[in-house]
């Protein structure tokens, strides 16, 4: 995947691009707003990572102009500080996701992967499969090896998020945003508790665990 990283802090830019390259992505770096706009319009990129504060032209304007120029690649906006308002502005300008700096690398990678997958599957998915687990989103049914598993609504949503990205990490923050609509870390065990109940229900009867936890990164469901 070709990813444009528009970031003026050389340290951060290099670090991000190193990690993305390690994951097998092709990275273009633009240290200023005009350069980001130029690369975005001329190069055929699959994903945009834009810092909100760019010299020359700020990230929001760059994104608006790219959108106006019919660039549809999903965009992640990087915002300084925990400014609550900037999130909304970013999303209004056409960003698909946002991250508050300083961010954990795992968080960025998880979001890049999630957006990449979303860009790839345009169709509305109503049926998800991950290994032995099947999910019918419309009928809100989950089966493991064909046997129904009864889940609470939030547990269902957690599982749905995992199954939409099989084999990839979904972070705690992503689950909080998507399942509970919280764009902050409530610093409670909400995610852990629901995850452990979900696991218990999925693994009922001593079946092997299908959800993998990596501490300080997130969760992923085994895809096979």
């Amino acid at each position: 995947m070709r990813i444009l990283v528009a970031e003026d802090e050389a340290d951060t830019a290099r670090f991000v691009s190193d990690c993305l390259q390690e994951q097998g992505h092709d990275v273009l770096i633009a240290p200023t707003g005009p350069e980001a706009l130029h690369s975005g319009l001329t190069e055929n990129v699959d994903l945009l990572i834009l810092d909100r504060m760019l010299p020359g032209l700020d990230g929001l304007t760059v994104l608006r102009r790219l959108r106006a120029g019919d660039v549809k690649a999903p965009a992640i906006m990087l915002t300084a500080l925990g400014r609550i308002e900037q999130r909304i502005e970013g999303l209004d300008a056409g960003a698909d996701d946002y991250l508050v700096k300083p961010f954990a690398l795992g968080e960025l990678l998880a979001r890049v992967n999630a957006l990449a997958r979303r860009a790839a599957s345009v169709d509305v998915v109503t049926h998800l499969v991950a290994g032995s687990i099947e999910m019918d989103i419309l009928r809100r049914e989950v089966r493991r090896d064909g046997r129904p598993v009864l889940l609470q609504p939030r547990e269902f949503r957690v599982l749905e998020e995992l199954m939409r990205h099989p084999g990839e990490f979904v972070t705690r923050a992503m689950l909080l945003e998507r399942v509970w609509d919280f764009h902050f870390d409530p610093q409670t065990k909400i995610v852990e508790t629901h995850m452990s109940r979900l696991r218990a229900k999925l693994n009922d009867g001593g079946l092997p665990d299908v959800i993998e936890t990596v501490r300080a990164v997130g969760y992923r469901i085994r895809n096979g």
């Binding site: 925990g82 909400i190 452990s196 109940r197 501490r215 300080a216 990164v217």
Partner: protein, 446 residues
């Protein structure tokens, strides 16, 4: 009024004035009375000795004549009587039995006014005769009464005026002080912006108010700079800390054995903890700076309480506590859903953390015409009343809970969020346990 120094001072001073007047009255009375009495005695003595010498020189007839002469003089100021050795009155106009010799207080029968008190000098004359010269006490008593009346009226008037003055002065002092007191209370309540009112007269109160204002300016600038330093520190440390965290994450990915992976994981988690703490500090200062109001929208506290209840019931269950919720319909406030959620989550976490196992926690959303209230109640140990205010201060954690994890910012964040919404945080004794209420003003629909 008993506890008002202003009233007390004014009251005591007016009582002191009244007592001074009373003392002055007594002195004037005594002095006037004594002087008049002396004057009267001198007149009596003079008349007595004159009559006595008449007697010695001209005998009975001489004194009788002199007495008649004196009695006919106007105005009549003295009365006379002469007794023979057998005790019979033989001369003088005063009708009385023969008294003993010396100074006497006597009563004689006034032909017009009836019995009258008088002061008399009774002198023994040669051959067993006895002379009585007396002055009517009525004029002296009249003067005494006048003096007493004047000072009595003055005393009563002084008490009256004093009481009125007490009320007025006390009321004035109280009004002036009350303004200072109100401002000070608002500042103690956490709002550092109000200042003492300054009057136009530049009197003692204005000068005290001015110096209090100067002190408040100084305190405010110190508090602001402490907040600034804290948030700057949190902000500046966050970036290097995040880099450190990312490098630790790389280290974890590259770790070859499980022991190193575990070490790196722990290190990443420790870094996350510090980052979260900084985030809370920054969030508090962001809230304190304000400017959030313009993006407030309608938030249904009932729905929020239900969501949070569903979310936390399993957590409570895992921690051997129970959680239930009661939500009234139509409890809508203007605010930020996530911030209010965060405040309530902190309160729930707090309740989970500071109650013994087996405790029950209740979330409640209720409202009336004026207020919308969200409440987190538990039946645990509660907080001592003297600690309640302190609990909301940043970083303050009560001694008894020091052993439990947590960075002590939870309740400060609740307070900051409440302030940003114009809501009040109230702690109440639920006996047993603690109830924390977030009281929002009813949403003003325009």
């Amino acid at each position: 009024m008993v506890r008002s120094a202003a009233y007390r001072i004014a009251f005591v001073s007016s009582i002191a004035f009244a007592l001074a007047t009373l003392l002055l009255g007594a002195a004037v009375y005594y002095a006037a009375h004594t002087a008049l009495e002396r004057q009267m005695d001198a007149g009596i003595e003079q008349a007595s000795s004159a009559l006595e010498s008449e007697f010695r020189e001209d005998g009975i007839d001489g004194i009788r004549e002199a007495m008649a002469q004196r009695a006919s003089r106007t105005p009549v100021s003295l009365g006379y009587a002469l007794f023979d050795p057998s005790g019979r009155r033989i001369a003088g106009g005063m009708d009385l039995p023969r008294p003993d010799t010396g100074w006497r207080r006597i009563r004689f029968l006034d032909p017009r006014e009836g019995p009258d008190p008088a002061r008399a000098l009774v002198t023994a004359l040669p051959d067993g005769y006895r002379l009585v010269v007396a002055a009517d006490l009525a004029p002296l008593e009249a003067i005494d009464r006048t003096i007493l009346a004047i000072f009595g009226v003055a005393f009563v008037a002084l008490i009256g005026i004093g009481l009125l003055g007490t009320l007025m002065l006390g009321g004035y002092l109280r009004r002036r002080l009350l303004r200072i007191e109100r401002t000070a209370a608002a500042i103690a309540g956490g709002d550092l912006t109000p200042r003492m009112e300054l009057g136009p007269s530049d009197d003692e109160f204005d000068r005290v108010a001015a110096s209090l204002n100067a002190m408040l300016d100084r305190i405010e600038s110190l508090v602001v700079s402490i907040r600034q330093v804290t948030s700057d520190l949190a902000h500046d440390l966050r970036t290097p800390l995040a880099r450190l965290r990312n490098q630790l994450e790389l280290l974890r990915e590259r770790a070859t054995d499980s022991a190193n992976t575990e070490l790196a994981e722990n290190a990443v988690e420790r870094a996350d903890e510090v980052l979260r703490m900084f985030e809370a500090i920054l969030r508090i200062s962001e809230l304190r700076e304000g400017n959030l109001r313009h993006r407030f929208e309608a938030v249904d506290l009932g729905t929020l309480v239900e969501e949070l209840g569903e979310m936390h019931a399993p957590i409570a269950e895992d921690e051997d506590r129970s959680l239930s919720w009661e939500a009234q319909r139509g409890c809508v406030v203007r605010g930020d859903r996530e911030l209010i959620a965060q405040a309530l989550i902190n309160l729930i976490e707090n309740a989970l953390c500071h109650t013994p196992p087996g405790s029950h926690i209740v979330l409640r959303a209720s409202c009336d015409e004026r207020m919308v209230t969200a409440c987190v109640a538990d039946n645990g140990a509660g907080i001592a009343p003297e600690d309640r205010e302190r609990v909301l201060e940043r970083f303050v954690r009560l001694e008894s809970s020091r052993t439990k994890p947590g960075h002590g910012l939870g309740l400060s964040l609740v307070k900051a969020i409440a302030d940003a919404h114009g809501a009040a945080v109230e702690m109440r004794d639920a006996s047993p346990g603690l109830e924390i209420h977030l009281r929002f003003p009813r949403r003003q629909d325009s």
